[in-house]
């Protein structure tokens, strides 16, 4: 009974196929029969060669992609909600409070300063501007984004800096469940270690994490279990 209580995320028999209408209705099956659970404080690492559908799976869990079958049960405010069949309003509420996602690339409104972008999730939650900014500054410091850049929009930043802003924007909030798509891909060692530390801090607080990390060192530093998407596809 205790075990069931701990689960934060349960994926059952998930299947995804892209149907490209304008390319002669070509069907691109990505995966099927994907099932796993993630408990609070666990970090599940998705593995498999490039192109096996790891990012697609992560996006499906975020309800960014629709799935053809299966369920994505999320523990949201102590109730189980199936994201695969939830209404748009439920999905938005879950993304606001429970489910965070760090994408591979930063995509934001142009001309908004970095500091404002980073504290935005807290403002949306109703937090006051001053403490939100203080928290954002702490995080930006930790991720070694130079102070001189805080008031600038990130469009002109380097790839690594943009990626760290992207991470800060999500990790500023204590999401019970986090999805991470290659958060350390373009970072140098020092910044990679800072991100690893942040991920482990979140995990120690009880966050359930699903992530894609190509770097073996990162994988071993944060992961608590693995799920091979390629093998799961073959088994299905």
């Amino acid at each position: 009974m205790e075990k069931i209580k701990d689960d934060m995320l349960r994926i059952d028999n998930l299947a995804k196929t892209f149907l490209l209408h304008n390319q002669g209705a070509k069907k691109l099956p990505v995966f099927q029969n994907i099932s796993f659970q993630v408990k609070a404080g666990e970090c599940l690492v998705l593995t498999g060669a490039s192109g096996t559908g790891k990012s697609t799976l992560l996006r499906a869990i975020y309800a960014n992609y629709l799935v053809q079958s299966g369920t994505i049960n999320i523990r949201h405010e102590n109730k189980w909600v199936d994201l695969a069949s939830a209404s748009p309003h439920e999905v938005l509420d879950i993304r606001k409070k429970t489910l965070g996602y760090v994408s591979q690339f930063l995509r934001v409104i142009p001309r908004i300063s970095t500091i404002d972008l980073v504290c935005e999730p807290l403002i949306v939650q109703g937090k006051l501007i001053k403490p939100a900014k203080a928290q954002a500054k702490k995080l930006l410091n930790k991720l070694s984004i130079p102070k001189s850049l805080w008031d600038l929009p990130p469009a002109t930043f380097s790839g690594g800096e943009q990626q760290r802003v992207n991470i800060a924007r999500t990790l500023i909030q204590d999401y019970p469940i986090l999805l991470l798509d290659e958060p350390t891909a373009s970072l140098d060692e020092k910044n990679r270690d800072a991100v690893i530390e942040l991920i482990n801090e979140a995990r120690n607080r009880g966050t359930a994490i699903v992530g894609i990390f190509h770097d073996t060192y990162v994988r071993e530093s944060v992961g608590t279990k693995m799920f091979n998407v390629e093998l799961a596809k073959k088994a299905a």
Partner: protein
């Protein structure tokens, strides 16, 4: 879940034998931004006019959560009731700012008269409020007493937005609010609209053919094609994983910068 703010059921509109929109149903909740996309001629503007009380649909119903009586069909309200609703709870931002502004009164008066329409009478209060709003939309106060005729396109659009938001409506309809503006002004306007909408918790229906605008502004998206809704869902889901052939074509046709 909070109550529905506006509900459209099986809405259809015909211009003689020409189709405007067919069988459109959706709900809008307080504080959310709903985007309507589709190519020109797909029925977006007709739909917007239908749901904003400007054009009675051929069939179907549009209900709004009125402050006193709850959900009521807006076309069954009396004319004065509907006009009151349009003045207080609604705002309409037109594609062409000149359609939504009074060009022969000053910028300040354009904002102030909306307050007077809902009963404000103290001149100083009205002027102060108008001042605040011109600042909100980044129009210099030295332009307050100038006629809109002397404003640039981007300023006119910002003035129109101030005129609409000053009464703190619960729902704002926007028809292509950023088209016709150059991109630098567009980005600032988008940021402005987004900030104001989220600060004030205003619900918004935005019609646009610009998918980039939609990704940044809207929570949910409706895709129209030949008068019908062919797809709807979360904005990022519709844009990243479109299901209908027309939406796939639309999304794949975006030019990279």
């Amino acid at each position: 879940m909070t109550n529905v703010l506006l509900s459209s059921k099986n809405l259809s509109h015909h211009y003689g034998s020409q189709v405007g929109c067919i069988d459109v149903s959706f709900d809008i909740y307080p504080g959310e931004v709903l985007g309507v996309v589709g190519e020109s001629g797909s029925g977006k503007t007709t739909l917007l006019k239908n749901i904003s009380g400007l054009l009675q649909p051929s069939s179907g119903s549009v209900k709004f959560d009125t402050r006193v009586d709850g959900l009521k069909d807006i076309y069954l309200l009396s004319e004065p009731e509907r006009r009151l609703l349009m003045r207080t709870d609604w705002g309409v931002v037109f594609q062409n700012a000149r359609d939504g502004l009074r060009m022969n009164v000053s910028a300040g008066a354009n904002v102030g008269e909306r307050l007077m329409a809902i009963g404000a009478r103290n001149y100083r209060d009205i002027r102060n409020e108008a001042t605040d709003w011109l600042q909100n939309v980044e129009i210099g106060l030295e332009r307050m007493d100038h006629y809109p005729e002397t404003f640039s396109g981007g300023m006119l659009q910002r003035l129109q937005i101030a005129r609409n938001l000053v009464t703190k409506p619960r729902l704002v309809f926007m028809d292509e609010p950023t088209s016709g503006l150059d991109v630098s002004v567009q980005a600032r306007l988008l940021d402005l609209i987004r900030g104001l909408v989220s600060q004030l918790g205003i619900a918004c229906v935005i019609v646009s053919h610009d998918l980039g605008v939609m990704r940044l502004l809207s929570n949910r998206l409706i895709v129209m094609h030949k008068g019908r809704v062919v797809e709807k869902g979360l904005t990022d889901q519709v844009l990243d994983d479109p299901q209908h052939p027309y939406t796939q074509l639309l999304v794949s046709s975006i030019l990279p910068v």
